[in-house]
């Protein structure tokens, strides 16, 4: 197991991701995986504000829809090139996040979640009712696929898969940078407790707002990719059930770890696929699994593994007074980020 953590583990995942199109039996599997990547990117964002900063945002799918509609409306109704619209999808979601964050982040704990639940629903209603802008329940049809860059064309499922994989890797890499930096430590200090963080000189509002805007930036970009990939948009994307799905991904993998939400976001959709034959009854299977997981593996799969390894390393750590074995190397446990 030791060899599967840290860099080798990530490289293995990278290799698997690159090889997947050659292992997939058909385009359908590629589509399932590609969709999972899109939601994985959004989940990475949700994990920043919820897992690392401790503020559970239930409007996350609303921001994803904002990004998606940015691309949809600009490309279909205003003939804006895809990539410009795509860049705006993240920016717009972040800008909206600034204003919503300034209001909602004044609330703490559950009140923040309840407030954002309402915000998410308002976003859904606005998208559904503002027909002149969003085409209402009819949705936006005929969104162009991402235009090719140089020799790369994104027409086939395989090239689209690689495009989405590229953004997932990029997103995960940047997230890694953020959460392992002083900035990430600042966010985690806020998660541990507002009071202590503030007494350490951390400006709560500014840092929470930054985490929130970064988080919804990921959601917006994921939405933009979703629009270019699925090429049809309805208001349903803003529905809170997508936020709950992403929450499930985080819980399964492990809140506040980098790998956990990624694994969750890639595993759960496949499980859903295999339980497709049960139709809506599959929640009878999902529900109990989730409950068992939350009770017995509260830190998720990755979170539990990281905690176990960190504890083992801490017990193996040399104590100065004890006779230090000559080969005792001081371990560098990366406890908070796998």
């Amino acid at each position: 197991m030791r060899y599967l953590t840290g860099k080798p583990g990530w490289l293995l995942l990278l290799a698997l991701g690159l090889a997947f199109p050659f292992l997939a039996k058909n385009d359908y599997q590629l589509t399932v995986m590609s969709t999972a990547y899109i939601f994985a990117i959004a989940t990475l964002g949700l994990n920043l504000i919820t897992g690392y900063t401790g503020q559970y945002n239930l409007a996350h799918s609303g921001f994803m829809a904002v990004g998606a509609y940015t691309v949809g409306i600009l490309t279909v109704d205003h003939q804006v090139p895809f990539w410009i619209a795509f860049a705006l999808s993240g920016v717009l979601a972040s800008a909206l996040g600034f204003f919503i964050g300034i209001v909602s982040l004044r609330l703490k704990g559950h009140y923040f979640s309840i407030f954002t639940l309402c915000v998410g629903y308002i976003m859904f209603l606005v998208i559904e009712k503002w027909e002149s802008l969003t085409h209402g329940t009819v949705g936006i049809i005929g969104i162009p696929a991402p235009t090719g860059i140089g020799p790369l064309a994104f027409e086939s499922p395989r090239t689209l898969y690689y495009l989405l994989f590229f953004f997932l890797v990029l997103g995960a890499w940047i997230m890694h940078r953020i959460v392992t930096s002083l900035l990430g430590r600042t966010f985690m200090a806020i998660r541990n407790g507002d009071e202590l963080a503030e007494s350490l000189g951390i400006n709560l509002m500014r840092n929470k707002l930054l985490a929130f805007m970064l988080s919804v930036f990921y959601a917006g970009l994921a939405g933009g990719l979703y629009a270019g990939f699925v090429r049809f948009l309805g208001p349903g994307l803003a529905g809170v059930e997508h936020s709950f799905d992403m929450t499930m991904y985080m819980l399964v993998g492990g809140l506040g770890t980098l790998l956990g939400p990624l694994l969750g976001a890639l595993m759960v959709p496949w499980l859903t696929q295999y339980l497709q034959f049960l139709q809506e009854y599959r929640f009878i299977v999902f529900g109990p699994i989730l409950i068992v997981l939350v009770i017995f593996v509260p830190h998720g799969i990755v979170g539990s593994y990281v905690a176990w390894r960190a504890r083992r390393d801490s017990l193996a750590a040399p104590v100065p007074s004890a006779t230090a074995a000559s080969d005792a190397v001081e371990p560098q446990p990366k406890a908070s980020h796998a």
């Binding site: 940078r177 002083l182 900035l183 202590l196 503030e198 350490l200 801490s314």
Partner: protein
């Protein structure tokens, strides 16, 4: 160093702190005592900026900090500990301490994205400060232990280390010896003396009278939010109003 004038905090009709004036002198240990509910923690919250006072003023090192937020007060050099310290139990003690020096660093999101030399330098600096603080409180041997596994007394010392890593001038300690045994209390007293020897000023709230009497240079006694006495430990011990507040009026004429 710290001057408090007519400080008042009212919650609705209740005055938690009422017209309290006092001065905390540089390089001294100043204790705030009083029965439960006397307003000691509220007093700390006002000084550290957690809550704004209803009226009165707080001057620290020539700055009026009356209406500053807690993070701004911390930046100016007032650090505090809490009765319970919320550590991240799944990380090591050292990991928990690194963020303590964050307020003296500048790097932001841009530095993170480009992995600037400033960021790498500051991360190194924060790590060093955390180690220094841990050394100071005598816990360098548990740097790699999980924060969730350490004892109550070690937790108290980690709280000290966290406060120290912010490079404060004034330390506010809220019940630094709460929930630890007498022997450990003596160790913590020694640590507080060591802080003062290193040019820090300490203000503490504590219930353990024996500890306070041997430690403090000056004591302020609060009762029902009002200052009823102030002076050296000997003066406080002899003050009838204090005996009255603590033991009841029938003992006051002793």
């Amino acid at each position: 160093m710290l001057e408090v004038r007519n400080l008042t905090k009212r919650f609705g009709g209740l005055s938690a702190v009422s017209e309290v004036s006092t001065t905390i002198e540089q390089g001294k240990i100043h204790a705030v005592i009083g029965p439960n509910g006397a307003g000691k923690t509220t007093f700390f919250n006002l000084v550290s900026g957690v809550a704004p006072p209803t009226s009165g003023s707080i001057i620290f090192d020539g700055h009026d900090i009356t209406n500053l937020r807690a993070d701004q007060v911390a930046r100016l050099g007032i650090s505090r500990t809490f009765q319970t310290t919320a550590l991240f139990d799944m990380a090591t003690v050292l990991d928990n301490l690194i963020v303590g020096h964050r307020l003296r660093t500048e790097s932001g999101l841009f530095d993170v994205l480009v992995n600037s030399t400033l960021l790498r330098h500051e991360e190194q600096l924060c790590r060093e400060k955390a180690r220094e603080a841990l050394d100071f409180v005598g816990l360098s041997h548990i740097a790699n232990r999980m924060a969730g596994d350490i004892s109550q007394e070690e937790r108290k010392r980690v709280a000290f280390a966290l406060a120290l890593s912010t490079q404060p001038k004034l330390l506010l300690l809220d019940e630094p010896a709460g929930g630890v045994n007498p022997e450990e209390t003596e160790g913590l007293s020694e640590l507080i003396r060591k802080l003062v020897r290193h040019d820090l000023t300490v203000c503490l709230v504590e219930h353990k009278m024996q500890m306070i009497m041997s430690l403090a240079d000056r004591i302020t006694v609060l009762n029902y939010g009002e200052k009823i006495a102030e002076g050296t430990p000997a003066q406080i011990r002899a003050n009838p109003a204090v005996i009255d507040a603590y033991l009841g009026s029938e003992h006051a004429d002793v």
